[in-house]
Symmetry: C2
Subunit: 380 residues, 2 copies
């Protein structure tokens, strides 16, 4: 194998595939990044067996030549060193050459690295997916949907299926849901599908995979093709493939958990509630339970309180846009509400309570594509 | 105690004194910040008994009123909560009021915090220092001198005196020295003294104190008054006092450690050597010894190499501005050299070698106020 490649392109690709590489893998070859060179260009692969990322750098496109291929071939290089090395090489180009016994030379400017490579034949093949169930989303929308749901997944391994985000498609609507059984985040979007009447359910993607995917997603509306099979999902960009395994198990049916009738309804500015909870949580961080108490008062006023027997007490009054229905006193995990408020981009939120002991709903006021559900906390 | 204070001023003062507060103190009252109010203004104090910081907010100055004092008095509030709370209060002003049993109310906008305070009588008094030995430095120069020496202190408690920076004044020249016995950093500056013919020696300030002080220092040339006594040092700014205890023990005499005759001399750009060492250290991080090898070649060229038996080898050639004297092969701890290069603001450095087994000197080429000394590493 022997090629010369434009440094910036190479660095970016290495950084992308390196996101899938874990130093804690039990499969030694997966500590490496695989490089494969053909006359078409260079393909890089990183994997921790849950997530696999493949990045392709074409030899040339309409605009420019990126790679000068001198000899085809492949090699696996230790990700930990290789990724740092290419980032710090001084020249505009990097020459990569494999000699006997996988000994690899990287040359750039007046710098030469001689690295011990690994046998590329040992590197596992990425799965070939059946593309019959495929849909499409703009990158920025997919990034938003991940940000607005993934924070609510469970971090407990007792119910593994809850550590993922569930995807469903019905009538052209994609719904992403995450819940740790105390709170639930749901986000909907219209999707374009290449398959007619595509219906998908119980496609549960590990939260960790989505967090890594999110780092690769740009803020553009370029479309991502999403291919779903029984055990894998593939996100397909221009020159980049992102594979994740799916979680086994039946995702809970969440539709009928959502109350429809409200006893008390509140409308108030997102930021005001967020900042008020931040202050109230300063004291409850001592107690570690994050319990915040809420009370409606006369004149559209909401009282937020939090008590720590050791440190003291905080009381805050918020003037709401609107308070409607029955008087209310309720306690909840303030951190959960804060997490949800942080991902809501709308200026105002609407909260729908169904009594002090029942779950309540938080939504932005300006669209109905998002919903957050919370269980209250019993305080005696 | 009862006063109303401008929020921004208060937040800044709290943040300053909070730098001295440690949550790991064994003296419970020192987990708090002391507030003392007189008709002149508000004084805040934080301390971990090694470092103490006192900040004063005047009731008013020529420009403006900062504090409305309603009743004099004092209180100690838990730093951990108090510092976060004042930062997050919503109003422009904060009202602070102490009632019975040290119960304290903070009020700002529509937010009320009731905090359990501590008895201010228990808080230790700061030392009153004899100001007979006082000198002066601009803040930005003091900040530079700290940055350019403190990184070289020892982090081993086996010789406690080496964990500090030694200050000496002779003939109006202040010299700061730090060494961990493998490397030494020295920085000189002309100082102004209020005492005639002030001579100071063996004033060893803990590195930790200087790191905290550095965070408070601004990039202005406002003068800092520095008061030295047998066991304490005081840095005196407008409205701020920073006390640190001094380290006991005799600081080693470093003057005669510095070689005067060179066998090989090199001059090269600071950044080029820095980047080259960064690359070479990528491989030695595996071995954890940071050993880098240097060799002079024909034509003012320097060869930098580093070898890791597991990962591979790196070789780099640097074109120097000048290489003079005997041929040289030497090995050293590359991380130590890198640390020094990072604090040198000059474009070019000059290295003076006295043989493969002797200490060598690194200096900027454009002034003689700074010197770095390193021991080589023996490699077989």
């Amino acid at each position: 194998m022997h090629f010369i490649i434009q440094r910036d392109k190479f660095v970016q690709s290495v950084q992308h595939v390196n996101k899938a590489v874990s130093s804690r893998t039990t499969i030694p070859i997966l500590t490496g990044i695989k490089l494969e060179v053909t006359s078409d260009g260079v393909t890089l692969t990183g994997s921790d067996s849950d997530i696999s990322i493949e990045s392709f750098i074409p030899a040339a496109d309409e605009e420019k030549e990126y790679v000068e291929v001198k000899k085809e071939g492949s090699i696996v290089l230790q990700a930990r060193f290789f990724a740092d090395i290419v980032k710090k090489l001084p020249g505009d180009d990097i020459e990569v050459m494999v000699q006997d016994q996988f000994a690899t030379t990287l040359r750039s400017g007046s710098v030469v690295f001689n690295l011990n490579g690994l046998d590329p034949e040992e590197y596992p093949q990425l799965p070939k997916l059946d593309e019959s169930r495929t849909f499409r989303l703009p990158q920025n929308l997919l990034k938003d949907m991940i940000r607005q749901t993934v924070f609510a997944v469970s971090n407990q391994e007792t119910r593994p299926v809850l550590t993922g985000v569930n995807m469903e498609i019905e009538n052209g609507i994609l719904t992403c849901t995450a819940t740790d059984s105390h709170r639930l985040a749901m986000r909907k979007a219209i999707t374009e599908s290449t398959t007619e009447n595509l219906t998908i359910s119980n496609v549960v993607i590990p939260g960790k995979s989505l967090n890594e995917l999110s780092k690769i997603l740009d803020d553009t509306d370029d479309l991502v093709d999403i291919v779903v099979t029984g055990s894998q999902i593939l996100f397909q960009f221009k020159h980049l493939l992102f594979f994740s395994r799916l979680l086994d198990g039946k995702y809970p049916v969440t539709k009928n958990m959502i109350p429809e009738q409200a006893k008390t309804q509140i409308e108030l500015p997102t930021k005001e509630l967020l900042h008020s909870l931040e202050r109230a949580l300063l004291l409850s961080k001592e107690a570690k339970n994050n319990v915040i108490n809420l009370k409606t008062l006369e004149g559209d006023v909401l009282e937020v309180t939090s008590i720590s027997s050791e440190v003291g007490k905080v009381t805050e009054k918020i003037h709401c846009h609107q308070v409607e229905g029955e008087e209310l006193r309720i306690s909840f995990n303030g951190k959960n509400i804060m997490d949800a408020l942080k991902v809501i981009d709308s200026e105002m939120v609407h909260i729908m309570f169904t009594g002090a002991m029942s779950p309540f709903i938080l939504r932005p006021t300006d669209h109905d594509q998002m919903l957050h559900l919370f269980s209250p906390v019993r305080t005696y």
